[in-house]
């Protein structure tokens, strides 16, 4: 490795050593060997999970093996889908955090456009969405036709929701053709807007919020909020571990602690249980960082994890930064 990483130079290639699935680090040579072992792309995916994480290599898998990869969210036989189920290959269910409160209103969008290369292709379909409250109880379900090129939208400010409302929108599309299929949610404060998207119906078992927080940060203009949601039909416990960036225990089991005494590990944990399809809105600055910084010297980072689960069982996390003075919100998913 040099100090100056090479930048890209164009070459047309189908090289055996090139990585195809970055998530599971599989080269084309690896995949061809696996394919020989398992006999089909579907069985290879079942065994290796290739193409099942971010989905970015699905086109390449199809290109190289001539078979349709298993859909990330095509879990037709999985009973952990909740009230909104995916019943046909190619259909999708997408679940994203949604809020309606004095802090934020939410607007969800999904495009039903067709890529230009496909010409005048018909992508008309019926879309269905369900709102779940923080306890995972469905409080609203609607179906509506969506024409080719139409943009689906849903605005919490236009609905009579119990406020404050923190929950999840599950959006199912029922299309038999190529087309756009993601759900963005924009959170609006009245002064500013921030937006990101769902992670289909999956979660992330183990992530770190890469925002270093110390007393200066905590006393500064930004607050950190977390929205954690359980897109699955079984309850999940989430562990929030705050650890010192300098020498804190990130991954090993923590030694028992004594209340009020700084932990030897340079880390401490908080736990929450999410009911099936449930959601939790957490003012992390107040609930996690403030008590942690009384015992631990900052800066601290935050690991969010659920032991022993994969993406089809794990909760998902959105993080929000609120600049109080400017009333500006920023967000993204982890």
């Amino acid at each position: 490795m040099t100090d100056s990483p090479p930048v890209s130079t164009v070459a047309t290639a189908d090289r055996h050593t090139s990585t195809v699935c970055f998530c599971f680090r599989k080269s084309l040579a690896d995949l061809r060997a696996d394919y020989t072992t398992y006999g089909s792309l579907a069985r290879m995916q079942d065994a290796t999970r290739v193409g099942m994480q971010c989905g970015g290599c699905r086109a390449l898998l199809h290109h190289h093996f001539g078979e349709t990869p298993v859909e990330i969210s095509d879990l037709s036989h999985d009973d952990q889908r909740g009230a909104t189920v995916c019943v046909k290959p190619g259909n999708r269910v997408m679940k994203c955090f949604i809020a309606s409160s004095s802090l934020l209103e939410s607007r969800a969008f999904s495009s039903n456009a067709v890529p230009l290369q496909l010409g005048e292709c018909d992508s008309s379909m019926t879309a269905e969405f369900t709102l779940y409250n923080h306890l995972g109880k469905p409080i609203m379900t609607r179906r509506q036709p969506l024409a080719t090129g139409e943009t689906f939208s849903f605005d919490t400010a236009m609905e009579r929701l119990p406020r404050p409302f923190y929950g999840m929108i599950a959006y199912r599309l029922e299309r038999k053709n190529y087309g756009a299929s993601r759900l963005n949610v924009a959170w609006h404060s009245g002064d500013s807007m921030t937006s990101t998207h769902e992670n289909f119906s999956t979660g992330r078992p183990d992530v770190v919020l890469p925002v270093p927080v110390d007393d200066v940060f905590l006393n500064g203009p930004n607050d950190i909020y977390l929205a954690v949601q359980n897109p699955h039909s079984k309850p999940r416990e989430i562990v929030f571990r705050l650890f010192q960036l300098s020498g804190g225990n990130i991954y090993e089991d923590l030694a028992p602690t004594v209340a009020g005494v700084p932990p030897k590990d340079g880390a401490l944990e908080f736990r929450r249980v999410l009911p099936p399809l449930g959601t939790d809105w957490i003012h992390a600055s107040r609930e996690f960082y403030t008590p942690a910084l009384k015992l631990l010297k900052g800066p601290l980072a935050l690991r969010i994890y659920t032991p022993g689960v994969d993406i089809h069982q794990a909760p998902s996390t959105y993080f929000f930064l609120h600049h109080r003075e400017q009333n500006i919100w920023s967000s993204n998913h982890l």
Binding site: H62, A113, P115, T151, S153, P221
Partner: protein, 251 residues
């Protein structure tokens, strides 16, 4: 250039570098969070990068290394400040890793005057390898963005990055529920440049008057497209969010 002798586990990522005068850039990774089955349990990670402005490599972000038990932090501030001038463009990060553990990379940019903070994931791409069949026939070159809400207080800007040595052309299309499809036309992105396109500029005036958020955008380029939608608060001019465009559903 990546060739047969280079390690197969080199991965490239594209990221934004907003005005150095206005924003502080921060990057930390914790690769151990993915150190489990079916991935590897033990790994080594080396990350560095190059910042491009106006098509030229402006400065190098020094590489740092860690294992799965540690974390890694890149220093953007020292080399960017050493330029002695304002700079903005995009970054190409190169991650070399051993051990089969996937890594997610998030960047944060902090507005220097106010402390407003936005964070987003870097966009993975395959370095110098182009797969023409996949990029074109399988639509890896086409992406979309649904919805333009809060138009009155937020300006949306499409940012297209071209990390390749070839010029890129991208065709932009807009859809509106009432007005139908609108072809914006082709925008060119020079080699190793990024292009910011404001929706204020390309959205038909009548659509803006309607202030209808139910619009979507599509972009089609010749090859792998790295693109973000950046949201800017009109009152302050501060970036509030950046998120990537989406690929289409293929199957």
């Amino acid at each position: 250039m990546t060739d047969e002798t280079a390690p197969s586990a080199r991965i490239h990522y594209g990221c934004l570098i907003p005005s150095v005068a206005d924003y502080f850039t921060q990057l930390m990774i914790f690769p151990g969070s993915n150190a489990r089955k079916p991935w590897g349990l033990h790994g080594a990670f080396t990350l560095g990068g190059t910042v491009f402005t106006k098509g030229n490599p402006e400065t190098v972000i020094a590489t740092r290394s860690c294992t799965e038990e540690e974390h890694l932090k890149l220093d953007f501030e020292t080399p960017l400040k050493a330029l002695g001038k304002d700079a903005s463009g995009f970054g190409v990060l190169a991650l070399d890793s051993a051990g089969g553990i996937p890594v997610e990379i998030y960047l944060s940019h902090i507005h220097r005057k106010t402390g407003v903070y936005f964070a987003y994931p870097a966009l993975m791409f395959m370095g110098d390898l182009l797969y023409p069949h996949a990029h074109i026939e399988r639509l890896e070159n086409s992406m979309f963005w649904p919805g333009f809400p809060a138009w009155e207080d937020t300006e949306f800007k499409l940012v297209m990055m071209n990390p390749f040595d070839l010029p890129m052309a991208a065709e932009i299309t807009l859809w509106n529920n009432r007005e139908g499809k609108h072809h914006v036309g082709v925008r060119r992105v020079s080699p190793r440049e990024c292009l910011w396109v404001s929706m204020d500029e390309i959205m038909p005036a009548a659509w803006q008057v309607q202030n209808d958020p139910a619009c979507s955008l599509g972009v089609t380029a010749q090859f792998k497209l790295l693109a973000y939608m950046v949201m800017i608060n009109r009152r302050t001019g501060i970036i509030t969010s950046a998120d990537h465009l989406h690929p289409y559903q293929l199957f």
